[in-house]
Amino acid sequence: VSDATPGPQAGPGRQDRPDADITWQRPSPRLLRVRRIEVGLVTVPAALVGGLAGAGASAVVGVVVAAAVVVAGLLAERFLARRVASWGFAERNEDLMVRRGVLVQRQSVIPYGRMQFIDVTAGPVERSQGLATLRMHTAAAASDARIPGLDTAVAAKLRDQLAALGESQAAGL
């Protein structure tokens, strides 16, 4: 393990983030639209059902419940742009780096040789926008690495590229 002694007063600074000098590739900007549609698809029916259920008690309650659900959906929408912007991946010489998250930020390193198989999946909303999600599986259950919102063609190309790299650098368990 690194012997670098951390500065005792290493404050929360930009220089301590591990992604400082990496050029990140980003998902397609259409991913934001996908996420918005998904939030809308959840919010509108939830508001309708909640409103109707509340209206059983009184009309005011129904309106309040529906409004609350809509407001929650709008708040989630505010958050979406930052979440979508947080995704990034970088193909390095020996491994793939993926980062995500706004509140809890995560950054994973997966050596190409450790990838057991690679999935390209696309839900109905993603498909309608011509996007797909790339998932990388290793022998460890905990290493959950995925890249959402890739152009279908880009995803397929990346999958083949990663699979080829994985084959050439494969290591046993």
Partner: protein
């Protein structure tokens, strides 16, 4: 029977070897004729007990009822007999073949080179009859969930296990340097477990076993009582007696019966599985034997250990006890084995710290200790576990410890690391902290270097992938013959 395979022997396919000397050559073999009794055993006992209870409760004098019960038992046994009749196995060309099934034939092939481990398992009835079951663990796919040979005579089972393991080692020597995938499975980490890998001819020699550890029965019983199960049962007893004393009604006990039975079953299962755990070093790996009623013998081959975990619960620490577990890569356990599959293999169910450290030395080439504490501000984020948070490592292993009341120390070999994760939550960001986690195969072991300073975590995330790659390369070089 020694049946040694010469060290420079060709692959098993090229010349016929006697697999089990004494029962013949590599022709087709049947399993032991008493197999149906053992297989139906547990169910049969349960059935008989239930029927007997019915019989006593109702005081049947009607003979036809008994006859119908006997018919049920006979049908169950007959099914087992037919299944035994159509099951056969053979070893040929470096492949173990098991064929079974009357209507839908099921033929499985197990290339010996892919065998990870072979366990000898004896259930209670099998022990009475002197029989044993061989379980094969195979690398890779979990759908081909390993094979079973049930049942063989115990001596035959042990002999067959020895010979299969010897063949699997000699067959797995990588034929070419490029074949890293096949070769790596059988890679002995130099000096890791056995004192040298030894020539294949020396394999299966029981005289070469070097005993390392033996659990003390009284200490195991005390340790289980002092663990969580023990605490829960104590609480149940206290509550029960309080209820009985205050209300004076013994009927209240009945409502606790299911809980009590569940706890008793769990405690019994653990005691049964870990009783008389013995670990010995042999040329083909660590031999692990355990069990009271159902006994298990398995061999953990060198270079297969994915992680080592030392667990020190609060109460045990007062006695200086701890538990040492290893995680070995293998197929996912089948549903019926889930109970034993969930736990890590406990090399030391309970032992002194010195015993555990000696065992760690046996498992790992070097033993770095978690000696670097996180920065002081981590105390704000993790006030209850700060005293146990530490990490460390060298160029082969990473070690991390954590826990609130129960300290868990995890060693992970860098060459086995599957992925490295860096995580920073909002509180950690405010305090300038971050965690780095190393995942190895399986879902049970992760080295969690929690709440390091942000700068150190960044250096770890940037440096560890290279170190892991170098460790992999070093292990790969050691794998090549003569390399």
């Amino acid at each position: 029977v020694t049946g040694p395979i010469p060290a420079d022997s060709s692959l098993p396919g090229e010349s016929p070897h006697p697999i089990i000397s004494g029962t013949g050559t590599t022709g087709w073999h049947r399993l032991h004729p008493l197999t149906p009794v053992v297989r139906a055993g547990n169910r049969l006992i349960a059935l008989v007990v239930v029927l007997a209870l019915f019989f006593v409760a109702r005081q049947h004098k009607d003979g036809s009822q008994i006859i119908s019960y006997l018919v049920v038992i006979a049908v169950a046994l007959a099914g087992g007999f037919v299944s035994w009749l159509v099951t056969r196995w053979q070893v040929a060309d470096g492949v173990l073949r098991i064929e079974t099934g009357l209507i839908r034939r099921d033929s499985r092939r197990f290339p010996l080179s892919q065998i990870q481990a072979i366990d000898v398992v004896q259930s209670g009835i099998a022990r009475v009859l002197g029989l044993a079951e061989l379980r094969l663990r195979v690398a890779g796919s979990d759908s081909a969930r390993g094979g079973r040979l049930a049942c063989l005579r115990l001596a035959d089972a042990e002999e067959l296990r020895r010979e299969l393991l010897a063949f699997s080692v000699s067959a797995a020597v990588p034929p070419a340097a490029g074949d890293a995938q096949a070769g790596d499975y059988a890679v002995p980490v130099p000096g890791a477990v056995a004192a040298g890998t030894g020539a294949p001819g020396a394999l299966g020699d029981d005289a070469a076993e070097r005993p390392l550890f033996r659990v003390r029965g009284d200490r195991l019983a005390a340790a289980i009582l002092l663990s969580r199960a023990g605490a829960i049962s104590l609480a149940v007893i206290v509550v029960l007696s309080a209820v009985v004393i205050t209300t004076g009604k013994t009927a209240a006990i009945a409502s606790f019966l299911p809980v009590a039975l569940g706890i008793a079953a769990a405690v019994w299962r653990q005691f049964n599985a870990e009783y008389a755990t013995r670990v010995a070093a042999a040329p083909d790996g660590l031999r692990l034997r355990s069990g009271l009623v159902q006994t298990t013998a398995e061999t953990i081959r060198p270079g297969r250990v994915q992680g080592v975990r030392l667990v020190e619960p609060l109460v045990w620490r007062a006695f200086g006890w701890c538990r040492l577990e290893v995680d070995v890569a293998g197929p996912k356990e089948r549903r019926e084995n889930r109970g034993e599959g969930q736990r890590l293999r406990a090399l030391i169910p309970v032992g002194s710290r010195a015993e555990a450290m000696a065992m760690v030395d046996e498992l790992l080439v070097s033993r770095p200790m978690p000696d670097r504490q996180p920065p002081r501000q981590a105390r704000l984020k993790a006030p209850l576990s700060y005293h146990f948070l530490a990490s460390g490592g060298d160029d082969r292993y990473v070690v991390a410890s954590r826990g609130r009341v129960c300290r868990k120390t995890t060693w992970v070999p860098l060459e086995k690391v599957q992925s490295i994760r860096w995580v920073q939550g909002p509180v950690q960001r405010r305090l300038g902290l971050a965690s780095v986690l190393l995942d190895v195969a399986g879902r049970r072991v992760t080295a969690d270097m929690q709440d390091r300073s942000a700068a150190e975590a960044r250096d770890l995330l940037m440096g560890l992938p290279d170190m892991a790659r170098r460790a992999r390369l070093a292990a790969g070089r050691a794998a090549q013959p003569g390399g």
